[in-house]
């Protein structure tokens, strides 16, 4: 533990499930991302990764031996490529040529021995004092696609992971004072000479992580059939209880929406402050949360939000194991969307923050973040192609979630829920692609919804609805020449049109961008009443005419905010005579005076 080094050996039972003989194997050595400051992950001097931090000490993974009975006693790793393809400074994507091919359907046992030296905590893995978090700590076989190609890639700072499902049977030995938390079920424990060995078993999963610390408190509770095991620093009990309360609601909620959680246990880790960078991450059967201990007292629901978000990854990543490197929106976008629903069901309009008379929802935060990056880059592109992690966050997390919120509010929550249920059922323990996802939505919501998604995700989809102009006036009294039932011309208009008690109104509404969505328009009248019009949204611009007994006062597009994707919410309304913002002035003046009174002395 003091050396922060894991010495491991094990057996990989591998079956070639593709249609092609395999002449090589590809391994991801993700921990080598922290080997030196020339790796693909760390070489960028502008620190464009998730945490934006750099390392003072480094970590690595070294495979000492890879051997199989099929190939005799030969150490296959000796012939492995020294670095990632085309990148001499990176060693996270390594191929191992095989002396003889593994045929389709054939299984081999690969004996492997390796050493993992953890760096100080950075980007979800490492150590901080006696706290250790081992994520991506072992040589991980790249995902073998059905066509016989391995989906392998060097570890990019924007990217996450992609792997095949497998069964994990892991024994972890650590000083007996340490508490171990891990993916999978704890099976048995043995203590000898102060070293405790715990066996964990995790079936049908595509990753395995664990943590060890001598400062963890443990809290366990059964939520339905699932045993939730929380590990947290003792002073975080209040936060752990908040996480637990959120899970009590979210776990059954997600089971209902996306199918049952697949494992018997869920380990929830709240890291200590020095290891905070390991927080907010998902692994099959294990999630990490985080947050400041005083946060709950400030009206923030951040701890619940991160707990719910990582839990929902058990579906969108865990069970639906899409390629996070190639299409990160499929896990992060769907998870962020699902998170808004759970958080809203839990906390209502103040799902992100509630206090001092203000409610801020997770959906509103996503919408705002999404609007910052609208149209900048394609949401559906691979993680490595994003210009920075902030852009990735804005587009993949927030904009994708906002797209789905727009879909939900426009096509209906129940319909989208049904489509997502069908998607999660069909690709459970599978590897869905964007095409699979869009096809599922199309099947549930129709072709327009599918087209909307394609444009929004892959064509930098954009929409801005705007009230271009508004006018209101009394209907003019008829004037001029008239022919009423007689051949001769008269200067008398029809009797019904000689005086006007009617008002006319007109608003011009325009739609900018390449997304077409139906929307409502509210016509607010001076007598306090409101008329609603529903427009199909196909036209680029249109004129809305009004005639009635009351004067048209203002017009608002999408008053229920069914299109949170709308780029500018403030051009959605226009009044004939705009209202003065007296309350804002009053508030600002009072604050200025009060602060002045504090400053003036």
């Amino acid at each position: 533990m003091q050396q922060h080094t894991l010495r491991s050996k094990g057996v990989i039972h591998f079956t070639n499930q593709s249609t092609r003989p395999l002449n090589e194997l590809w391994f991801h050595l993700y921990l080598n991302a922290f080997k030196n400051n020339r790796s693909l992950f760390l070489r960028n001097p502008f620190a464009l990764g998730r945490s934006g931090q750099t390392l003072q000490e480094y970590g690595y993974i070294k495979v000492d031996r890879l051997q199989s009975a099929k190939y005799g006693s030969e150490n296959l790793w000796l012939k492995s490529s020294p670095h990632s393809p085309g990148d001499p400074d990176d060693a996270t994507d390594i191929s191992v040529p095989l002396p003889a091919p593994i045929l389709p359907g054939e299984s081999v046992d690969l004996n492997i021995e390796f050493t993992s030296h953890l760096p100080p905590v950075l980007e979800r893995t490492g150590y901080a004092g006696s706290f250790h978090f081992a994520g991506q700590w072992y040589p991980k076989l790249a995902k073998l696609e059905p066509n016989g190609h391995f989906a392998h890639f060097a570890f990019h700072p924007h990217s996450e992971f992609y792997a095949d499902f497998g069964d994990y049977d892991v024994r972890i030995s650590a000083p007996s004072s340490f508490t171990i938390g891990s993916s999978g079920n704890r099976m048995e424990e043995k203590t000898q000479k102060g070293i405790r060995t715990t066996r964990f078993v995790l079936r049908q999963a595509h990753d395995f992580a664990f943590t060890a610390w001598d400062g963890f408190q443990v809290l366990s509770e059964k939520i339905g059939p699932v045993t939730v095991r929380l590990l947290f620093p003792s002073w975080h009990q209040a936060n752990a209880l908040r996480s637990l309360a959120a899970l009590r609601f979210a776990l059954p909620y997600a089971n209902e929406l996306y199918g049952p959680y697949p494992y018997e246990t869920l380990t929830v880790v709240h890291p200590p402050e020095a290891g905070a960078d390991t927080g907010g991450m998902e692994y099959p059967g294990m999630i990490t949360t985080g947050g400041l201990w005083f946060e709950p007292y400030l009206g923030s629901h951040a701890i619940e939000a991160v707990t719910v978000h990582e839990l929902l990854h058990q579906w969108f990543y865990g069970l639906l194991a899409s390629n996070e490197s190639e299409t990160p929106f499929l896990d992060e976008g769907l998870t962020s969307y699902a998170e808004t629903g759970v958080m809203e069901a839990l906390f209502g309009a103040g799902s992100a923050f509630s206090g001092v008379g203000l409610d801020v929802s997770v959906a509103a935060l996503h919408r705002t973040n999404a609007a910052f990056y609208a149209g900048d880059e394609n949401i559906g592109q691979p993680a490595r192609q994003f210009t920075g992690f902030q852009a990735l966050g804005g587009l993949v997390y927030s904009r994708a979630a906002t797209i789905l919120l727009t879909l939900e509010r426009t096509w209906g929550k129940a319909k989208l829920a049904a489509a997502l249920r069908s998607y999660t059922a069909r690709f459970r323990f599978g590897h869905p692609t964007p095409a699979d996802f869009i096809a599922s939505i199309e099947q549930g919501l129709g072709a327009n919804a599918g087209q909307f998604l394609r444009t929004a995700l892959f064509e930098r989809g954009f929409i801005d609805l705007k009230v271009e102009s508004i006018a209101s006036r009394r209907k003019p009294i008829a004037q001029g020449f008239w022919t009423e039932g007689a051949p001769q011309v008269s200067s008398q208009p029809p009797a019904t049109d000689r005086e006007s008690k009617q008002w006319l109104g007109r608003a011009v509404v325009v739609r900018r961008g390449n997304l077409k969505l139906p929307f409502d328009v509210a016509l607010h009248l001076k007598n306090g009443k409101t008329e609603r019009r529903h427009l199909d949204g196909s036209a680029d611009s249109l004129v809305i005419d009004y005639q009635g007994a009351s004067e048209l006062s203002s017009v608002e597009i999408d008053p229920d905010l069914k299109i949170p994707l709308d780029q500018d919410l403030f051009n959605n309304a226009r009044a004939v005579a705009p209202k003065p913002a007296r309350r804002a002035l009053d508030l600002l003046l009072t604050f200025a005076q009060l602060l002045g009174l504090g400053v003036l002395p």
Partner: protein
């Protein structure tokens, strides 16, 4: 002119200046909010308070460039009003310290103290700035590896709490020096300041300060609630609300007057004990 009348004039002058300064400081921000087009909505600016906060966040997003550009001018204006505001502060002290004189002589005496008050203000700014900077630098230091979150956050909180107390102490000492400067019953010296400070601590002054702080906090909270549209009954009575707020504000100025009066009493006690 009686002391009560002079005090009333001083409070009025303070209020007028705070109103003008407040308007100058807040009008550009108000224009920034209005420019977003909140007036186009049927519920006007209350659109910002719609559930979920989407419109409030949208205002901050769309107006971020404008609001950022307002920060520096607001700070500069705030600094100018801070120094101009030293005149009505001196007026408050003159009102409670002087035995005689009308409003004109009070005003000229207050103006006469402007330069030394300004120097004092700058010295206080420097000391307070140093305190804030030190606290900020200390709080920015990364927690040592192995430190737990409570230790790390606790340290930050403690640093800011100590800094806040220091700022308050420096502010109180500044007020005391101001009173000593206006009162002019003897040379200004450190021992005298300490003695007067001791009398200040022994008397009711600190209680007054606590009441003043509590009321200022309550006024901020009420202003926030009103602004957030939480108190439905004031939504359509902006002028009435403004009147209530201003009355509350005048009450705070009166408390400030009492605070100076209390300090003047502490200084008088110091003078008396010195003389006997």
């Amino acid at each position: 002119m009686t002391r009560a009348a002079r005090s009333a004039v001083a409070v009025f002058g303070f209020w007028i200046l705070s109103l003008v300064a407040g308007l100058l400081l807040s009008l550009p921000w108000f224009s920034g909010i209005e420019a977003q087009g909140v007036g186009g909505f049927a519920d006007g600016e209350l659109v910002l308070m719609r559930q979920g906060g989407a419109y409030l966040l949208e205002m901050l997003r769309l107006g971020s460039a404008q609001f950022q550009s307002l920060l520096l001018p607001t700070l500069a204006l705030g600094l100018v009003t801070t120094f101009i505001g030293l005149i009505p502060i001196a007026g408050l002290i003159v009102a409670v310290v002087s035995e005689t004189g009308g409003s004109r002589s009070m005003f000229s005496r207050a103006c006469g103290h402007w330069f030394e008050f300004s120097v004092l203000r700058m010295i206080t700014f420097l000391i307070q700035g140093a305190v804030v900077l030190t606290a900020w630098l200390l709080a920015q230091r990364p927690a040592p590896l192995g430190w737990d979150i409570r230790q790390a956050n606790g340290l930050s909180l403690a640093v800011f709490a100590v800094a806040g107390c220091l700022l308050a102490v420096v502010g109180c000492l500044q007020d005391l020096v101001r009173v000593l400067l206006v009162e002019r019953s003897g040379a200004l010296s450190i021992p005298r300041l300490i003695r007067a400070g001791w009398h200040m601590v022994r008397t009711e002054s600190l209680k007054l300060l606590a009441i003043w702080s509590a009321l200022a906090g309550a006024a901020l909270l009420i202003a926030g609630l009103i602004g957030a549209g939480s108190l439905a009954w004031v939504r359509d009575h902006t002028f009435a609300t403004w009147c209530v707020q201003q009355l509350l504000f005048v009450g705070l100025i009166l408390l400030k007057l009492l605070w100076f009066s209390s300090l003047a009493a502490a200084v008088a006690r110091e003078r008396y004990t010195r003389s006997v």
